[in-house]
């Protein structure tokens, strides 16, 4: 480690943030709009009951909210807290960064010569998002997999809000989660603010005056920007450090074969952490070196999971659930990419 490397790590870190923060802000803005100008009861009534259709529906919401993988988290979290079925929210979380007009246009621009990549990218992302949304919907109550604050804010289906999961996890997490109050020098018991959270969410549909709604929207936007911004900084720092200290050749040298090239590009996608709106241009620079399947794997896997975004995902899910998403999405991506490599033209 030396000074130059550290400085290039810092430059990398800043460049990731300069690119990601605008999209995070956009996601926070959408989330705010969704929270205060959309009546969630109407929204939920619109959603298909069937888990499969729900996942499909969720996967296509990206066309209305064109966000990348930094902006989808606040929106998906808002959807969950508004009581939208989990299949819809997870479908949205995984598909929105790819299935949206901006990404479609960017991929088309980059791969005009290979239109199959554009359609395979959209198709595979859609299939994986729908399948995962469907799989997760088999968990009747998603709350044990969610971070306690999100879980508590979700409208309770059985009417025993906060019981069960709530009490048990509060014991473990509260001191960690709420040490903000210690930080500011208060040694007393941290205040349980989640009650307020639930109340704030519950209050949204009531016919409150516009100015009140607006102030609550401001409140939640600030809060999301602060929380997710902090997490994004940590994720970008890790991604930048790995990029600066692990030679890129070490990843690319993993292989050029039909199997190894896919693994190499998936690893690269997770490390490089660039936004889905622009990753097609990056992938294009590898198109002469790598197999079609591996480029596809890069384009499908990168938007779903990357180092920068893991922290953001952890703001919704517990680590175990993030790991499941990680592993399932990875396996499916690998499978599709391998099929393309072996049977594609």
């Amino acid at each position: 480690m030396n000074w130059t490397q550290l400085n290039s790590a810092f430059t990398l870190f800043l460049s990731l943030l300069v690119e990601a923060v605008p999209f995070l802000l956009l996601g926070v803005l959408f989330s705010g709009v969704l929270q205060f100008f959309v009546d969630e009861r109407k929204l939920v009534r619109l959603m298909p009951r069937n888990a499969f259709l729900g996942a499909l529906f969720g996967s296509c919401i990206g066309f209305l909210f064109p966000v990348c993988e930094c902006g989808n988290v606040p929106v998906a979290r808002r959807l969950l807290m508004q009581g939208v079925p989990s299949s819809v929210a997870i479908g949205f979380l995984l598909a929105a960064p790819t299935i949206n007009p901006i990404v479609f246009w960017a991929t088309w621009t980059a791969f005009r010569d290979q239109p199959e990549i554009v359609f395979l990218r959209i198709g595979c992302s859609l299939v994986i998002a729908v399948l995962l949304g469907w799989v997760f919907s088999s968990q009747k109550d998603l709350r044990p997999m969610l971070q306690p604050t999100v879980a508590r804010a979700m409208p309770a289906k059985t009417g025993v809000r906060g019981k069960g999961l709530g009490t048990q996890s509060t014991e473990n997490d509260v001191s960690l989660l709420q040490s903000g109050t210690y930080f500011l020098g208060q040694a007393e018991q941290p205040i349980d603010v989640s009650e307020f959270q639930a109340a704030a969410i519950a209050a949204t549909t009531a016919g409150k005056p516009f100015s009140y709604k607006l102030s609550l929207m401001l409140e939640s936007m600030i809060q999301e920007m602060r929380e997710l911004g902090g997490v994004l900084i940590l994720g970008s720092a890790i991604a930048a450090l790995i990029q600066a200290f692990v030679p890129r050749e070490a990843v690319l040298a993993l292989g050029q074969g039909p199997v190894t090239s896919i693994l190499a590009m998936m690893l690269l996608a997770a490390i490089v952490s660039i936004c889905s709106t622009v990753d097609a241009f990056f992938a294009l620079s590898f198109s002469s070196l790598f197999t079609t399947g591996s480029l596809l794997a890069f384009l499908v896997y990168g938007p779903m999971i990357d180092l920068k975004g893991i922290g953001l995902m952890m703001s919704i899910f517990k680590p175990r659930a993030v790991f499941y998403l990680f592993a399932l999405a990875g396996q499916l991506t690998f499978l599709f990419a391998l099929l393309v490599n072996l049977y594609g033209s």
Partner: protein, 251 residues
């Protein structure tokens, strides 16, 4: 007590968000944004800067009005892994670091680490036309490398005049009569920058040119066998040290 800490917390948020707005604007106005992101996407950063500042100002006005009416904000609750104080402190601290530490363009060490590619398929949103009659001295390193990608036979270019600007890289196994004149190419942001280069044959040895020095090289194209590969090489006639350009990347 809880009220005063909430008061400080609320203003920390305003400060942290405003600091990011200021940081982005600062990078834009001082031209440092060129080191971080492709010019095509700069408007995104500038728009975000304005958005962040607007959000901070809105929140600030709101807090001032609130404090007049004795009620300091709603209780802000925790949503993520990081405790409240940490998150805004981290945001603020990073923004301040960003203002203090100047981002630097990548140099030869990063280039060697990323692997100098000699014949990549180079990204271009708008493909450029090749004009056979164009003055070869107008070609930049990236133009040469692009031309080579289309027609790789080095002999085809023998005798053509070259005038390129870039920085010096020495890969470990380069003979000491040569240097690589290089540029980083950006497709989106610095995270995806990759180096391209052309070998230059010197009349003397390369000791007098330190790695990362920016040079303008004038000379003629010739074919040499380097590292067991026939390659297009610039035979240097004149070498001029230059300032690092404001925008060191190529696109």
């Amino acid at each position: 007590m809880a009220r005063s800490s909430r008061f400080i917390g609320a203003w920390m948020d305003v400060l942290a968000i405003a600091a990011w707005g200021v940081l982005f604007l600062n990078y834009w106005l001082t031209g440092k944004l060129y080191l971080l992101i492709h010019p095509n996407y700069m408007w995104l950063t500038v728009a975000a800067a304005i958005g962040l500042l607007a959000l901070a100002v809105w929140r600030g006005i709101f807090l001032l009005q609130r404090s007049k009416s004795r009620n300091v904000g709603n209780d802000t609750s925790h949503m993520t892994l990081l405790p409240t104080g940490w998150s805004s402190t981290l945001l603020l601290a990073t923004a301040i670091l960003g203002l203090i530490i100047t981002p630097r363009a990548f140099a030869s060490q990063t280039a060697i680490q990323r692997g100098v590619i000699d014949a990549p398929t180079l990204t271009r949103v708008k493909p450029q036309a090749f004009r056979a009659s164009s003055n070869t001295e107008d070609k930049s390193i990236i133009d040469w490398v692009r031309t080579l990608t289309v027609y790789p036979e080095p002999d085809a270019y023998t005798g053509q005049a070259a005038k390129v600007q870039g920085f010096v890289i020495y890969p470990p196994d380069l003979p000491n009569q040569y240097l690589l004149i290089s540029r980083f190419v950006l497709t989106c942001c610095a995270a995806d920058a990759y180096p391209i280069s052309l070998p230059v044959k010197l009349t003397g040895t390369h000791e007098q040119y330190k790695p990362d020095t920016w040079l303008e090289i004038q000379g003629q194209m010739m074919t040499e066998t380097l590292g067991g590969k026939r390659q297009l090489v610039i035979r240097a006639a004149a070498i001029q040290p230059i300032e690092e350009p404001k925008n060191p990347y190529d696109y």
